[in-house]
Amino acid sequence: MLARTADNLYWLSRYVERAESLARILDVALRLATLPSAYAGTSNEWESAIDIAVCRDAFFRHYDVANQANVTQFIIAGPDNPSSIRACIEVARQNARAVRTAITTEMWEILNDAWNEMQRLRFQSFTSKDLTKFLAFVREVSLRFDGAAYRTMLRTDHYWFQRLGMLLERADNTARLLDVKYHVVLPETEPVGGGLDYFQWSALLRAVSALNSFHLIYRGGIKPWLVADFLILKPEQPRSLISSYETLNRVLDLLAERYGRQGPSQRLARQTYSQLQNMDIDTLFQTGLHEFLEQFIADNNRLGLAINDQYLQ
């Protein structure tokens, strides 16, 4: 398989996943920002949205204030934002077009329709209602795309590279989301008798579609350290770091088997995975959640580079 084809497949699904994450980030910010300040605390939700989406510098080059209008506009279709939702869909479609025959018709049609829809929408005149509808649309594109890939692609290296991109992006997003919000999941910030941060925790869970499933795994109320445990160490949670790495490992092993050769990607993924397997949440908090997440994001990036070097060029 051509290295460029693998590259296109990998980035194609990374960008679709990224578009979905951005939509979720906005969803959560929107929900928290509408709460009375007594419930949501004092932090500026729109600024954290900017931080999770890692576009602080670019944003403040264009705007003075991080408020709903500016942030949603910037993240959805901002000028000079190469990672806006619109840009993600656009780049995903470009990649798909370049490997039109390597993906299935179903996958192509979902992306092509989404792209056509984006051309049609007038983001400037969005009402809050339009915004909610739009964010649901973006999440649905990603769900349908993922479903189409899962249901229609041949299980060959084409499929595996498509998965790799999705999983790497997902791990990155979950880690960033946690990192920006890490102060609210630290045990010592738990106010006596529950309280202000409750909405922050549930918003975090909601951001990864995990609010209901949290209750299935942990009987009892939302505890901040359990939120961290859920999103980092629970293999049952498909957006957790450990679950992403479990699958990353399996996919990389399939590639190694098919090509008859192991490489740095396999080694790095295995390292990170076994680290996660041997970790418990208490130790994690002792070493420092923020430090751990920073390290994870760096390792995840390193794996991305290793995959690039090993397969994509």
Partner: protein
């Protein structure tokens, strides 16, 4: 040209159909307008869904457009096709021999048949090729020969395309669409299939692999990229042959061997079916600013480690000045008279011809020697006085850049246009594959239609459309029912 001289291949919109069109004419004449509209909409939906598009240069609106498709097929009998395909094979064999001679001993020049300066001053002439001997002595493995018809038995070659003829994906998708739209006609008539083309193309390309290649040579299709107007076709062909679609940056040359970058490391490439023009192939040999090419490709080619298909420099054979010598060229290399006729051609480089052309420019079609795609030509009878005069000035300025031909009364086939069924001019581009073992031609080819009333220009960039081309077995139609178990058996 008088209207009554125009030959309609179906026998007109109204009158008695020609025998070969009988079933088709009957179907279309009996069909209700609703049914026709229905089938047309189905065809349109089919082409939109599969995304078969082309781009028009300089047209921002139509970045991806669908080529108009007409649902009434164009039909040839197998007898007509037999003669045409013999003529095509003969002509393309001669073209290959001519190109080999041009880059070799130039016997045809020494024999005084083709003037040497016509070759040496040709912008498509590549001196590098005089030191390269391609596998099996073949240069143009994929040739498109444009044919026109003026009467029941009068076919002419309008143009040879020996570089990178396109349109074969339309030929195949048109058939795919027709099979869905008119199963009843396919059930009744013996229509020769065309879907073996990708297999035949792959066999042809493998047959001309360099001798150093493995027993299963690696073939790739090389495209300039998704922004090229024919990108759909490039990906279509790669997909149907089951080979990689590469861009220049996917390939590299080490020790005069070409490799592609794969997820498993470098893999050797033996045959490159390139849809990239000569001058962009290798920045070290041709245009240094080309980012589409592969540095060192020409030295690998020279070393005999890769086959470039079509070969570099085949353009010397398809320019319109050389075209005018084709009857002599065919005779010289095959020893026989050309089966397919040329359109009589005046070469403006010759003073007598030039004055004839200038005096009669209103009756002639004047073309640039190297023009293509319907650009850079004047259709005298359809031009205004001002257009004629400015074109005449251009010809006077640089006579050897032009040729002229009489305006032929091109045949028509009825088409569904806005005002209903109406005759429109057509041409035919069959695709001729030349391999080391033999020449292969899929029956039929691409029929292009000039959809504007009275227009003779069939190019898709200029408002042309296409039709499916049926080659039908002469003789009795086949039994329309399969055998079935007898009741009560």
């Amino acid at each position: 040209m008088a209207n009554e001289a125009v030959f309609d291949e179906m026998g007109g919109v109204e009158g008695d159909p020609r025998q070969i069109y009988a079933d088709v004419a009957q179907w279309f004449r009996q069909a209700s307008p609703d049914l026709i509209a229905n089938r047309k909409a189905e065809a349109e939906a089919f082409f939109r869904r599969i995304g078969i598009t082309f781009a028009v240069y300089g047209d921002e609106q139509g970045a991806e457009r669908i080529i108009p498709f007409d649902i009434l097929p164009r039909i040839l009998s197998s007898g007509e096709w037999k003669r045409l395909s013999e003529g095509l094979e003969q002509r393309v064999r001669a073209l290959n021999a001519f190109i080999g001679d041009v880059y070799g001993a130039r016997e045809i020049v020494r024999a005084g048949i083709v003037p040497e300066d016509l070759i040496l001053s040709n912008p498509a002439f590549r001196p590098e090729m005089t030191r390269i001997k391609p596998a099996a002595g073949l240069y143009t493995h994929i040739a498109g020969v444009d044919l026109v018809r003026t009467g029941p038995d009068e076919f002419y070659v309008l143009e040879d395309n020996a570089r990178t003829p396109s349109g074969v994906s339309y030929m195949m998708e048109n058939r795919e669409a027709m099979l869905r739209l008119f199963p009843e006609l396919f059930g009744k008539l013996r229509i020769k299939p065309v879907d073996q083309y990708p297999d035949e193309l792959l066999t042809t390309l493998r047959s001309v692999a360099p001798s150093s290649a493995s027993r299963e040579p690696t073939v790739v299709v090389m495209t300039p990229g998704p922004f090229n107007s024919a990108y759909y076709e490039h990906s279509f062909l790669a997909d149907r042959m089951g080979v990689e679609l590469v861009e220049g940056r996917d390939l590299f040359v080490r020790s005069n061997v070409v490799y592609m970058r794969t997820t498993e490391g470098p893999q050797r490439v033996d045959v490159i079916y390139r849809r990239v023009d000569d001058e962009f192939l290798d920045p070290l040999a041709f245009r240094p600013d080309s980012t589409l090419g592969v540095p060192g490709l020409m030295s690998a080619y020279k070393a005999g480690n890769v086959t470039i298909s079509n070969a570099v420099g085949t353009g010397v054979a398809d320019d319109k000045a050389v075209y005018s010598y084709m009857p002599e060229i065919v005779k010289f290399y095959t020893g026989k008279d050309a089966i397919l006729a040329n359109v009589p051609t005046w070469r403006c480089r010759e003073p007598d011809a030039l004055s004839h052309v200038l005096a009669n420019i209103g009756d002639l079609v004047v073309k640039e020697v190297n023009g293509s795609g319907g650009y850079g030509m004047l259709v005298g009878p359809h031009a205004t006085k001002a257009q004629r005069e400015s074109f005449a000035a251009k010809v006077r300025n640089n006579p050897s850049n032009y040729i002229a031909q009489p305006t032929l009364a091109l045949s028509t086939v009825p088409c569904y246009v806005e005002e209903g069924l109406a005759p429109r001019h057509v041409d035919l581009r069959p695709f001729v594959l030349s391999g080391a073992d033999k020449v292969r031609i899929v029956p039929g080819g691409l029929t292009r239609v000039a959809l504007k009333k009275g227009s003779l220009v069939v190019n898709s960039s200029q408002g042309g459309g296409t039709k499916d081309t049926w080659v039908i077995e002469d003789g009795a139609p086949r039994a329309s029912q399969s055998q079935s178990q007898k009741a009560g058996a």
